[in-house]
Every structure is written in structure tokens, then in C-alpha cells.
């Protein structure tokens, strides 16, 4: 069984080993035995994942201060909220974060832990959707698929930016691989909703909550979105996610040579 204890004072790169399988009943009773010693143990369930770059690596497009507040306080807050929920009632402990998101979404009637869980997932995904020196255009398979499903990369970019600018309130814009339709699409979601709950596979996301851009761009969503597309988006991450997604979605006929 994975270890359940964690010292929250350790550097944030310490990650918990999570047991992705459901914990069978006897583990719950084992935790009871530890109850008497609980005073000396600090128990946390999920850890805060650091972005794969330093906090000032995205300058001048996304300032260090934004990263400090957005990751260090907001994202961390979501993780702590999630842990607090699980500390009260850990019947949902044992899922991976992906599964927890789908389960707590509860087909549209979300459980209280949903907001925190999905925001942790969303932010992990968002940090990894960016890289210093990002932007430019994708290559190989991702580019081919984009051109197949949108006509051209420019068309995709326009659609993505349009979705970002027309999103009202808080939310995210996604490049997502739709499982049923077996194609890429641009999707915008409100608040914390995530295409996982519709069983689609996200490839890239852009956080359009005001806290993501207000310190750097104030109300100028247009510039923020353009900067993201031109300088921040990580097509490398997109490539690895597409590769993984193709294991689940059959994207097209193989090229059978005509005899």
C-alpha cells in the first residue's frame, strides 16, 4: 500500500505515492488503529505538484508574481481544500485524480469535493500546457490532426482565441480530442468544468479565470490569449498527450496501399 503520511513542510516537489487502486476495507480499519497515535502524525492525501519550470521562467509573458499567487496560493489552496475534504470523510480516497474528478462530478450533480479536486487537476494540466519558449506551431502528428479537423492551423488558432474572448465569467478553453467523434475540437467550459467529465481527452488548456491574467494584463483578454498562443503554449506537452490519447481513440483508417 502506498504511504499515506506526508510532511507538508517538506519542499513541494515531494510527492505522495498514491495507491491508484481502491483500498480494500482492511486498510480503513488499519487507519483506525493509528487513530490513537494521530496526534503525532500529519496526514495529507494529495500533494502540490510544481510546474515543470521555475516560477520566473515564463517572463515576460507571465510574471513571476502571477505564478507566485496563482500557483503558490490559489493552486495550493485548492490542494489544501481537497485534503481537508478527504480528512473529514475519506471514502473517496484511493482514486487517482482523474478518477476522482469523474466520480465527484457525479454526472452533473457534483459532490462538494468536486470543485477542489477538479481545480487541482486543471491547474496541474495548465502549468504543463505551457513552457518557456513555447508557442510556434506543432509538428508531425499533432499538426496533421489539427489540419485535418480545422482545415489549417490558423483556423484552429482563430477558433481558440474566439472561444477565449467570448467566454463569459470564469472558465477554461480547451483543445480536446473527442472520443465519440474521434476528432479534435475547441471547447470552452465554465468555472471548473473539465472535458474529462464528458469522457473526452484534453490536449491543451488555457485558464481564463481572471486571476490567471489580471496582474499582467488587467482586462486585456485579447493580448493574454495571443501571448499564450504565440509564446507560452507547449506543443511538446500536446504531442505527448496526443500520443497517449491515440491509445484510446482510433483516429483514422490506416493507409492501406492500393494494390
Amino acid at each position: 500500500m502506498g504511504s499515506v503520511t506526508c510532511n507538508p513542510l517538506a519542499p513541494p516537489s515531494t510527492r505522495l505515492l498514491l495507491n491508484p487502486l481502491k483500498i480494500p476495507k482492511f486498510c480503513h480499519s488499519r487507519r483506525q488503529l493509528h487513530g490513537s497515535q494521530r496526534a503525532s502524525k500529519i496526514i495529507a492525501y494529495y500533494g502540490l505538484k510544481t510546474p515543470p519550470y521555475k516560477l520566473d521562467a515564463l517572463e515576460p509573458y507571465m510574471s513571476k508574481r502571477t505564478l507566485e499567487v496563482h500557483w503558490g496560493e490559489l493552486h495550493r489552496g485548492y490542494v489544501e481544500g481537497l485534503n481537508k475534504h478527504l480528512a473529514k470523510d475519506d471514502v473517496l480516497y484511493g482514486y487517482t485524480l482523474d478518477e476522482l474528478v469523474k466520480v465527484s462530478y457525479n454526472s452533473g450533480n457534483p459532490l462538494p469535493v468536486f470543485n477542489n479536486a477538479v481545480q487541482v487537476w486543471n491547474h496541474d494540466f495548465f502549468w504543463e500546457s505551457m513552457q518557456p519558449g513555447g508557442g510556434d506551431i506543432p509538428k508531425y502528428g499533432v499538426l496533421e490532426q489539427i489540419e485535418k479537423d480545422f482545415g489549417s492551423f490558423t483556423n484552429f488558432k482563430e477558433k481558440f482565441i474566439e472561444a477565449a474572448l467570448t467566454l463569459f465569467g470564469s472558465g477554461y478553453v480547451w483543445l480536446v480530442l473527442k472520443r465519440e467523434e474521434r476528432r479534435l475540437a475547441v471547447v470552452k467550459t465554465s468555472n471548473a468544468i473539465n472535458p474529462l467529465v464528458w469522457n473526452d481527452i484534453p490536449i491543451i488548456s488555457l485558464d481564463m479565470w481572471e486571476h490567471a491574467y489580471y496582474l499582467d494584463y488587467k482586462n486585456d483578454k485579447g493580448t493574454y490569449t495571443n501571448v499564450f498562443m504565440n509564446h507560452l503554449v507547449s506543443w511538446n506537452a500536446a504531442m505527448s498527450r496526443m500520443a497517449r490519447a491515440e491509445a484510446f481513440v482510433n483516429l483514422g483508417e490506416p493507409k492501406i496501399p492500393i494494390a
Binding site: 463569459f168 468555472n191 471548473a192 481572471e210 486571476h211 489580471y214 496582474l215 488587467k218
Partner: protein, 238 residues
């Protein structure tokens, strides 16, 4: 609340809502209507039409600016305080509830103190008898642009908890922003005045409803006299 925030919040956000709204309704049937009417019509019982967001946000922001004043805060007095104490137990309990509603509104939205004067309007069913849930103060929170007008409440006070309202001054510390708002910015005079208007409107509406009901009753009793047929007619025409 810093000048920077006001410059952006009012000068850019609020201004954009107004300009976009004007662009959207020019030439349509919404053009000559009052702002409140535009809001209720475009809310369309939850199936919002495009002008709703801009209209509601324009109204909300005006309401928000007027809910504040320099050197505000403190406690309300007079009838407002009485009603608060009646409906929430004490001013502190109200404060707790309001602050909690504002802090827990997930995503963008608003928290409100509103006067609820209406009964459920169920046209084709027996009206539920008036409960104490009517004619009282309530704290409600709403997402994005929705405001209590669409539920037929009378808003008295609001706080904007869209992130653009507090991010420059407080970054992510929403609870601090809410506390500062309640301690230093709220204009209780304006709230009291709105309460008076709301109550007057509610009384007027009640009187009109009663009058209308009486008229209907009179009409019905006239009709009944005409609709009675005597059995003998049929056999006589033979």
C-alpha cells in the same frame, strides 16, 4: 479600494458592458425599455438571450458603486437594523452569512442582501398560504451576471466578487476584500433608502393585487348569471 481598481473596473469593465449592450440592442425591441425591463426580458426564465450578460452587468455595477461610499462601513440603524435583527438574529450573524456567501461563490458572481416580498406565483394551483418566508431580508449569491431582479426580489446591497473587483488590491485574498468592504465601504444610508423603496413597492403591489382579485370576483359573479340555462328551453323549441 484603489484608484487603479476603480479606473479599470469602472473605466474599462463597466464601460465595456454599457457600450456592448448599446450595440446589441440598437434597433431591436429592447431599445426603448428601461434597464430593469431589458434584464428581465432577456433573462428569459433562465434561457438567457445575448443582451442579458451586458445588461445585467451594467445594472449590477451601477448598483455596486452606489452601495459604497468613502468613509462607509459601521452599522446600519433604524428600520434596516430592526429587520436585520429580526431576520438574522443579530447584525453579527447577518455579517457572517453575507461574508460566507460572498466567499463561497465559486467562480465569478455577486453576493446580495435583498428584500423578498413576493409569494410564489403559481397561477394554476392553489396559492400556498403566506408563510413567514415572505417579506423578509435574505442573503443570496448569484453566478456571473445573474441578479435578484430576475427572481423578483428587491436588491438592497451587493458586493462584486468577480476577481477583477479585488485582484489588484488583494490578489487572491477574497475574504480580506469582503471584510474591508463591510468595515470601510458599505453605505448603509443607501441601503436603508432602497429598503424603503422596496417596501413601498411591495405594499403598492399587494394593494393592486387585492384590487385586481376583487374585480375578477365581480366579473365572475356577473357571468354566472348569464350562463345558467333553464331545462325547459329545449322542449319548448320543439
Amino acid at each position: 479600494m484603489s484608484k487603479d481598481t476603480l479606473e479599470y473596473h469602472w473605466g474599462k469593465h463597466h464601460r465595456a458592458y454599457v457600450e456592448n449592450l448599446n450595440k446589441q440592442i440598437v434597433g431591436t425591441e429592447l431599445d426603448g425599455m428601461s434597464l430593469e425591463d431589458v434584464i428581465i426580458v432577456s433573462y428569459n426564465k433562465g434561457n438567457m438571450l445575448p443582451p442579458f450578460n451586458n445588461a445585467a452587468q451594467a445594472w449590477n455595477h451601477e448598483f455596486f458603486w452606489e452601495s459604497m461610499k468613502p468613509g462607509g462601513g459601521g452599522k446600519p440603524s433604524g428600520e434596516l437594523l430592526e429587520l436585520i435583527e429580526r431576520d438574522f438574529g443579530s447584525f453579527d450573524r447577518f455579517l457572517e452569512e453575507f461574508k460566507s456567501a460572498a466567499a463561497t461563490q465559486f467562480g465569478s458572481g455577486w453576493a446580495w442582501l435583498a428584500y423578498k416580498a413576493n409569494r410564489l406565483n403559481v397561477d394554476n394551483a392553489v396559492n400556498p398560504f403566506p408563510s413567514e418566508k415572505d417579506k423578509k431580508l435574505v442573503v443570496v449569491k448569484s453566478p456571473n451576471a445573474v441578479n435578484p431582479l430576475v427572481w423578483d426580489y428587491s436588491p438592497l446591497l451587493t458586493i462584486d466578487v468577480w476577481e477583477h473587483a479585488y485582484f489588484l488590491d488583494f490578489e487572491n485574498r477574497r475574504p480580506n476584500y469582503i471584510s474591508v468592504f463591510m468595515d470601510k465601504l458599505v453605505s448603509w444610508e443607501v441601503v436603508s433608502k432602497r429598503l424603503e423603496i422596496a417596501k413601498a413597492r411591495a405594499t403598492k403591489r399587494e394593494m393592486e393585487e387585492e384590487r385586481r382579485k376583487k374585480e375578477e370576483e365581480e366579473e365572475n359573479s356577473e357571468d354566472e348569471a348569464v350562463e345558467v340555462y333553464v331545462d325547459g328551453d329545449e322542449s319548448e323549441s320543439e
